[in-house]
């Protein structure tokens, strides 16, 4: 098991290099001229001078070839220094931004994941058990509609319905008030809405496939009540493919909550990335993408480890 983990960790390195090098190189050619921007910004009369431009280029190391610059960045990144944002007010270090934003996104992602699991799994099982019935169509249909609405549209709709009209929630959630606050429900729900359909459909398909297995027929034949068949045999054996989906969703929820965080002013990872993207802040974008890549890879690793626990036939060290 340990050898397997080490091997997986080592294989992450080239992947991370590919992700960051692509981001870094594309950013060099597509995100405008940072030195020109800083030259204009640092000029009180807004005039562009070539001397200032050259000086700033040199200070930033932009006179070096992109490959050397990337190597410099990577060397520092390995030591935990992801550089500095030259665009954001205060010119903070990228690591500082990530450290301040990541815990919020992680907690929000966890709540959203809980919503996905608590709502998605039972509905998926129900849809499978009652397949081709009205309930099945209702579950799949309504989750398809819900997942089709992008979060930036769903959030205001949810605000109007749950806060202003139905008054189920008393206040509009603005800002981060902790994982156990009532204000986390709506952002987490909006975040969870997108992946919900995937979980329901995967669960439905997986459960349906399990239901058609011979050992299920045997269980029924030996007189086990239906709910015991479902709870003891079907759900556990359907979990392996669902875990894969949940793992991917989990990483997406943590690193991909850009719209939700902006809408509800949550000071998370997504907000930082969005602001950096809007402002052409390549240093921050590269740093956040590196972390996003790490999150996805570690989620995949966790998923693989879970396989072994759920299905003894899977031998991870092989």
């Amino acid at each position: 098991m340990i050898r397997y983990i080490i091997r997986r960790l080592i294989t992450m390195i080239p992947l991370l290099v590919i992700i960051t090098s692509l981001t870094y190189m594309l950013g060099q050619y597509g995100a405008g001229d940072l030195a020109a921007y800083l030259t204009l910004r640092s000029s009180p009369d807004g005039k562009f001078t070539l001397e200032a431009y050259e000086r700033i280029r040199k200070e930033l190391g932009l006179d070096k070839p992109p490959l050397i610059r990337y190597a410099d960045w990577l060397f520092k990144a390995v030591q935990g220094d992801l550089g500095q944002s030259y665009i954001l007010p205060g010119q903070p270090s990228v690591m500082y931004l990530i450290k301040s934003g990541f815990p919020v996104s992680l907690q929000l992602g966890l709540v959203a994941l809980m919503i996905v699991i608590v709502i998605g799994l039972p509905l998926g099982v129900a849809a499978a058990v009652l397949h081709n019935t009205f309930i099945d169509y209702l579950i799949v249909g309504s989750s398809t509609v819900l997942s089709s609405i992008p979060s930036f549209a769903l959030a205001p709709i949810a605000l109007i319905i749950f806060v202003l009209e139905l008054k189920i929630l008393k206040t509009v959630p603005i800002g981060w008030h902790g994982i156990f606050s009532e204000q986390v429900i709506l952002p987490a729900f909006v975040l969870a809405a997108g992946p919900l359909l995937g979980v329901i459909r995967y669960t439905r398909a997986s459960v349906l496939e399990t239901l058609s297995q011979e050992y299920i027929r045997s269980a029924r034949a030996k007189g086990l009540p239906e709910r015991w068949v479902i709870l003891r045999h079907v759900i556990k054996n359907s979990m392996v493919p669902i875990i894969t989906v949940l793992g991917l969703i989990a990483s997406g929820l943590v690193s991909g909550s850009i719209f939700v965080e902006q809408i509800f002013n949550l000071p998370g990872f997504g907000s930082i990335t969005a602001r950096a993207l809007q402002m052409g802040d390549l240093q921050t974008v590269t740093g956040t993408l590196l972390i996003s890549g790490l999150v996805v890879m570690f989620s995949n690793l966790l998923v693989d480890l879970c396989y072994g626990m759920l299905d003894p036939r899977v031998r991870l060290n092989e």
Binding site: Q91, V163, I174, I263
Partner: protein, 622 residues
């Protein structure tokens, strides 16, 4: 089977009941509305004969708007809410914005810092600031200010030395080594007529930049503890007005304490514990990216504020902010709103429309249409084009069919800023008249060849797509011109296809009509010698008389003659060049009806420095 049918029926019934329930939920009742008394006097409707090449009869409608200030509502004990807390929704502010020189003068941050010179709702300087009186020398070069007995929020007195040091700090922040860093755009750079400041701002002074230090200034002299003198390099008509807008006073020891500290975007000297403030409120806490809290400064020299806590919550998403405001969780919605949305949506919303506190103006949408190249080098072509564009219709097209609240303007200045009014009243754009436009085009030196020439309009971004397409259609329909929209990057502006340049969104909120547009004037007098620079296209050097006029205007910036010059430039601009100023974008604050005396000044949205300001605000039971 029966069970399944019952279940189906049950679910369908629940769905129908829910839908009907949501649809029938009563709308939130519109609360009582405070109506500000505004008298609009439409005075003259006269016929003016304009003599040019022929006599043209033109109807001029002069509208005079007299705003009668609403009386301040004294707090009524029985109606006052037990909790006098003001909850404000605002877009995100960073810690550095709490600085005395990087502050946003339209935001609630101004309540932390007192200005040297106060200003009333009409931009007239008054004694509501730290200076209770002042004298101006006969030549207009020396201003002597006398300070009142005022204290910082830690109880220490505010002296002339503190004022001088604060001004020096602002000057230091203007130094090119730090300009533009950490959101610092050195508000004092607009006061560079103060002796010594210009050299610091343009980096020619023999001075090394040092953060959290004051730059020595020849033009600032401390006479005694309560007297300070400013010496100018030239008499500047708007010195007091710009001082009131741009300069606030902080405590030198607090700012200097920032030396050597490592600040991120989330903290700054102004957020350090123990910082003293000079305004009616002091900072209690600042939560990065989330908001901040202000409480009254017990040493404030004016009337004690009634509001005991101001909670500012940051949220940048307008829909979320509006939902929270509609849900009555907040008292003030402090955002700049630009048409078309959500401005017009609010304007027609029965709950929000009466709560829009100010319909002032902040942006001039401006379009310059001159180029030294053919066929725009011909004044008749430019005039014809100007007359062939229906401005009123263009405003509607650009704002999704709406024009309510968006007023056309005749010059580069927003109507609500009361500056050079005498000279401005005669400034008129060429009126929309397709027939006159055709006649004007016939006078062009290009003759019929003009109909085969391409008029190229540059579309810089997709945001301008509607604008350029609308203009293209108007010119084709009204003049039969061949108009081509250019969306490609043009590396050389001085060679064909000679695109017409459109310059949108110029901001004109300074009381000085030349300040915001100095850049435009400078571009217009420049040589089109740099083909890669956009301003080559707006050079007016092919119109020598106009060029001379603009040079004179620039030379006179700040002087008493400036209004005459500006007025003349405006008139000539409209007559000779194609300057298309098509509308003004208003902005609005939303203030709940239970908040009394919260006044926002039109034009720049300043909320504090008018009599009475924030200290008169109170909240009734709701």
């Amino acid at each position: 089977m029966l069970k399944e049918r019952i279940l189906k029926l049950l679910i369908i019934s629940i769905l129908i009941i829910t839908l009907v329930g949501v649809a029938c939920t009563p709308q939130v009742a519109t609360p009582a509305v405070i109506k500000e008394t505004v008298e609009v006097e439409k005075v003259v409707k006269e016929t003016v004969e304009v003599e040019k090449e022929k006599i043209v009869e033109q109807t001029v409608v002069v509208e005079k708007t007299v705003v009668v200030e609403k009386e301040i509502e004294a707090p009524i004990e029985s109606e006052m809410s037990a909790v006098q807390e003001l909850r404000i929704l605002a877009s995100t502010r960073t810690a550095t914005q709490l600085d005395i020189v990087t502050w946003g003068h339209t935001s609630e941050i101004t309540w932390l810092w007192a200005p040297l010179v106060g200003q009333d709702i009409n931009f007239v300087p008054d004694d509501s600031g730290l200076a209770e009186s002042w004298e101006i020398s006969d030549d207009g070069l020396i201003y002597t200010f006398h300070l009142r007995d005022a204290k910082f929020s830690d109880g220490t007195p505010i002296t002339a030395n503190d004022v001088a040091w604060s001004f020096g700090y602002g000057a230091m922040m203007c130094h090119p080594d730090y300009f533009g860093k950490r959101g610092n755009y050195a508000t004092l750079s607009r006061l560079n007529m103060v002796k010594g400041l210009k050299e610091i701002c343009d980096g020619t002074a023999d001075l090394e930049f040092k953060l959290f230090e004051a730059a020595p200034l020849e033009g600032v002299k401390v006479i005694d503890d309560k007297t300070i003198q400013f010496e100018l390099t030239y008499a500047y008509k708007f010195f007091l007005e710009i001082m009131a807008q741009q300069f606030r006073v902080g405590k030198p020891e607090n700012i200097m304490a920032g030396q050597g500290k490592e600040y991120t975007e989330d903290n700054w000297w102004a957020t350090d514990p123990g910082t003293a403030y000079s305004g009616p409120y002091k900072l209690e806490s600042f939560s990065p990216g989330q908001g901040y809290i202000m409480v009254p400064n017990e040493y404030w020299w004016g009337d004690a504020p009634i509001i005991q806590k101001i909670l500012v919550t940051f949220v940048d998403d307008m829909n979320t902010a509006l939902a929270a405001f509609r849900n009555k969780e907040y008292d003030v919605f402090n955002y700049l709103l630009y048409p078309p949305q959500p401005y017009f949506e609010m304007l027609h919303d029965p709950y929000l429309a009466p709560l829009m506190q100010s319909k002032g103006e902040s942006f001039v949408k401006m379009h310059l249409w001159f180029t030294p190249y053919q066929p725009m080098d011909d004044v008749h072509v430019r005039r014809a084009i100007a007359m062939a564009i229906d401005r009123d219709n263009l405003i509607k097209i650009l704002n999704g069919g709406e024009s309510d609240g968006v007023t056309p303007t005749e010059g580069w200045f927003v109507n609500s800023i009361k500056s050079c009014m005498e000279q401005r009243k005669d400034v008129k754009q060429l009126a929309f008249d397709p027939e006159a436009a055709k006649e004007e085009l016939a006078l062009s030196k290009y003759g019929d060849a003009i109909f085969n020439m391409e008029i190229n309009i540059q579309q810089f971004s997709t945001n301008d797509a509607v604008l350029v397409q609308a203009v293209q259609k108007m010119l084709q329909d009204n003049l039969g011109l061949k108009v081509v929209i250019r969306t490609e990057q043009i590396p050389d502006w001085t060679n064909p296809p000679y695109p017409v340049h459109i310059w949108p969104n110029l901001q004109g909120t300074s009381i000085d009509p030349t300040q915001d547009f100095n850049v435009v004037l400078t571009a217009m007098i420049s040589e089109p010698s740099e083909p890669d620079k956009i301003y080559s296209l707006v050079s007016m050097n092919y119109e020598p008389e106009f060029l001379a006029l603009m040079n004179k205007a620039i030379a006179n910036i700040g002087s008493d003659d400036v209004c005459n010059d500006v007025g003349e430039v405006w008139k000539q601009w409209n007559e000779r060049a194609i300057t298309y100023v098509y509308g003004i974008n208003p902005f609005a604050y939303l203030v709940q009806p239970w908040v009394h005396n919260y006044r926002v000044r039109a034009g720049d949205g300043n909320q504090l420095w008018m009599k009475p300001g924030i200290e008169a605000v109170w909240i009734s039971i709701h």
